[in-house]
Subunit: 307 residues, 2 copies
């Protein structure tokens, strides 16, 4: 496989990142940060989730966010729905977004803890939801959590994950996201996995969603890229911690990922300085030091300096 | 190139890490931490530097450290010397260590700022020092800083770096370390570089020394491994910041590197839990939150848990 020369990066900080913030973020700040991301060149942003507001109060203002943000017309906005009710609610804002994410965990225990259903129950519902999303003319992106390991069950078989992916594709999902929910992937496995996924799921977009739980997030992204993966999800500022293991970092930092890709000559269409500026703005809003590296170091300056 | 099935990791935290700590670390703590690293299974530890104590007061107790530490007999201890005077002083402790590191920067400006000499001046001295080290029956490890980019000059030509490496090897160095001093390497270049270095320097050990300045440190290490590199340097707890760019992290975290290698099935001979314990001990000694990821997340637990 030849290394892709350009990749797509979906910014998931406004949903996956904000969701894990303990302090409520004012809607004004969310809108301002998403607009800033739009200016940085993202063509895909996950902006809201139609979950019950009592379960995730941080995202209760999703409808207001969707209605107030002002990003370029070619930015594809994504919302996440956990079930049919969530989709019902999302569709009341039908013209405000373009992509809908649905999900399941590959491991039974994680799925049970996350949505209190068996994987079979989730998939029966997902089959219906995916078809409704497609019928609405929206893009359906299916996400499989714990694709590379489960904190409760340990190893998750690759075939189990790819079987679920295939079922999603049959139901109409045009994008399959594989989530390393608690950072258990390593680059050797990432390479093997994405080679297999790309081979088994022709015609479907394959997206890598890595966490930086043990510092290996970018190594995994690099290995996935080398295996041919050309779609990634990440979070500006490395926003979004993870409750398992307690206190861990979550998503890989978008600006670190963009820095790596640009340095390798892989195009992202993004303005790295703009992404870093957005991340620094998020840091100011949240009032705590974020764990992204490029937020401190900045982009690499290759121009010789007088000294 | 086939991926190496086992690697050597030199722990450089007690020298390269401590050196960058702003607060003086008591000798008792240094000794205790090095002894802890010895128990974790390291067979190579950089423990002291024979630089002028007024230049780096943090390492002024190097002789005492060398004389007080108690590590297994098969641990090879390294000291760093900046010049002939440094080697004179080091040799007064001749039986206390096994390896001597000497260095130069590949870029003129960095070398000038670091040791106030031209590269030619440094290399003339290094030729003499290397031969003296070898004559003493010690191993000479030569380190080339700014091998992957210079914060002042930008690009550093690969041939320039490998020419310096070859000259070190001719003078008797049996190990060549390539330092990414301010984190400007990317995994594509790391792969190209280490493939070229291994081809050009047969019979010499090639060591990768990456920094995590922009979060790409482990991705670079993975790429170097895939290119055939089997020797790495890292710092427990991700100790050792870097003054350029201001506030940046420095060396990659040993425990994150070990976690990645072990997960890939690459042997290090180290006890990951022991390394993490040492890093947590360092965190307690320093009284500040270190930036290593595994120090928070711990090793991956693949055993299914009752839940």
């Amino acid at each position: 496989m030849t290394r892709p020369t350009s990749v797509q990066i979906r910014e998931v900080g406004p949903r996956d990142g904000f969701q894990n913030e303990p302090e409520s973020i004012p809607t004004d700040d969310k809108v301002r940060l998403i607009n800033s991301l739009g200016r940085a060149g993202f063509k895909r942003i996950e902006v809201a989730s139609f979950v019950r507001p009592d379960v995730i109060p941080q995202l209760a203002d999703g409808v207001e966010v969707l209605n107030r943000i002002d990003v370029p017309a070619d930015v594809r906005l994504m919302v996440l729905v956990p079930n049919s009710r969530g989709l019902d609610n999302a569709l009341k804002q039908r013209d405000k977004f373009h992509e809908v994410a649905i999900f399941v965990s590959a491991s039974e225990t994680h799925n049970k803890k996350n949505v209190n259903r068996t994987v079979a129950e989730s998939m029966a519902d997902n089959d219906v939801i995916a078809r409704r999303i497609v019928a609405e003319g929206l893009d359906c992106a299916a996400v499989i959590a714990t694709s590379f390991g489960c904190p409760y069950e340990g190893k998750v078989e690759m075939t189990r994950v790819l079987d679920l992916a295939e079922r999603f594709a049959e139901a109409g999902a045009t994008e399959l996201g594989f989530g390393d929910t608690t950072g258990m992937c390593n680059p050797a496995y990432a390479g093997d996995f994405f080679r297999a996924a790309i081979e088994r799921l022709p015609g479907v977009e394959i997206t890598a969603h890595f966490h930086n739980t043990r510092g290996q997030g970018l190594a995994n992204a690099y290995a996935a890229l080398e295996a041919g993966c050309a779609s990634f999800e990440s979070s500006f500022g490395e926003l979004g911690g993870c409750p398992v293991p307690a206190g861990s970092t979550g998503n890989i930092a978008t600006e670190d990922l963009v820095s790596m890709f640009h340095e390798m000559g892989v195009q992202t269409g993004l303005d790295l300085e703009g992404v870093i500026a957005s991340a620094r703005e998020a840091q100011a809003v949240l009032g705590r030091k974020l764990t992204s590296h490029s937020i401190i170091a900045g982009a690499i300056n290759w121009a010789p300096s007088a000294s």
